[in-house]
Symmetry: C2
Subunit: 230 residues, 2 copies
């Protein structure tokens, strides 16, 4: 492996592989193995199979703990925006993994180094190798530095409703008491109109109105997010 890359893993994330051949395998594409049959190399596919499951569990656990009020359905959708090709390939690029992978010539010529599915597999195989080398806690430690802060910062929140987005944004630096308070409830039963205020640690951020209490709360949260220019 490239010394500079190893140094970066150590300096940025404190990662030093005990079994460097696992890391090498994680960065070896099947097309490279096929072109070097004499060398008895192994490609990264089996390690990627494992890494995929490691990421599924570690990210599920993070979401389970940090979104105690979120329903199973929302958790599943939220997880799907993180555990996916678009996110993982982006992670691989940010980490410079695309420069380290060993590709066959054909794959190289077809621009495989930039292919999203290949980069996604690469992120998974890196995590699989780290898991095999040092266990689940080492993976968690890496994710705490590299992935969980992105989740906390709202990088994947576009799929969530406004109330959840607002909660996530307000609580990014710690607990904040968020309350929704009905200010007005007017009109007859079949044509009711609610006006709700959203209040964070006692301070009113915005108001919103709607035909149901829920709709009014969402409108208030949406306005609060706009006011904060999130």
């Amino acid at each position: 492996m490239n010394e500079k890359f190893l140094k970066r893993l150590k300096d940025e994330f404190g990662i030093v592989f005990q079994n460097i051949s696992l890391l090498e395998q994680a960065f070896t594409h099947s097309s490279y193995v096929n072109e070097h049959r004499g060398n008895r190399l192994s490609d990264n596919e089996r390690i990627e199979f494992l890494g995929d499951a490691v990421l599924e569990l570690t990210i599920s656990r993070y979401l389970f703990e940090h979104y105690p009020e979120m329903s199973e359905g929302k958790l599943t959708r939220f997880r799907a925006t993180i555990v996916c090709e678009a996110s993982f390939s982006q992670f691989a690029k940010e980490l410079g993994f695309d420069k380290e992978i060993r590709l066959g010539r054909g794959e190289e010529q077809m621009n495989g180094r930039k292919r999203s599915a290949l980069l996604c597999d690469l992120f998974e195989s890196f995590v699989g190798a780290l898991y095999l080398d040092q266990g689940l806690d080492a993976v968690l430690d890496f994710l705490k530095q590299f992935v969980f802060p992105k989740i906390k910062a709202g990088a994947f929140s576009h799929v969530m409703d406004y109330k959840t987005q607002l909660q996530e944004w307000l609580q990014k630096n710690g607990e904040v008491l968020i309350q929704y308070q009905i200010l007005e409830e007017v009109g007859p039963a079949h044509e009711k109109q609610f006006v709700v205020a959203v209040i964070a640690d006692g301070k009113e951020l915005a108001t919103g109105s709607g035909k149901t209490k829920k709709a009014a709360e969402q409108a208030a949260a949406e306005t609060a997010l706009k006011n904060e220019k999130v």
Copy 2:
């Protein structure tokens, strides 16, 4: 929880929950929560979300370690036959979980207690609760007693090719050296016929023939499996 059931968990698997309310939550269906709104109960859906990921990882790791020669594609197919509704609902029934779940009356009348999807969720939520209560090692310990022996005994092998099935069957009690030996190779290039013998610890089990070496090996393994009445 039913005392007899708790005793069974302890006697059969050595499982004693520290936080019994986690186990109760794992056995509480949303339909029961909806009918008992005053009691502030939680249903098992969030725990099931977590349990699903725990099973994905633990079973992936088992397959990764026990099938060192299996490709990523086969591992994925193999895992899919184990991590699925059909298997997990069967596990839940074997464990008597169907008798323990708390259901709403509507769900009960609709025969929910026998519904495959519900039973599958129940197995996942049980594993999720065990993970939250005692960590990944406790889950592994449970699976070593209840799930991994089924895999080893070939309960999910119907999806595998004959060579893998034979290997699994022969090695169920320990390592066995399996060899495929070409006995004959006859005919011109475009019409070749191979005859191959499969040999376990030096003893010939069967022979098979085919147009390629691979096909002949599969045929030999298939015959060996039939001879052994697997």
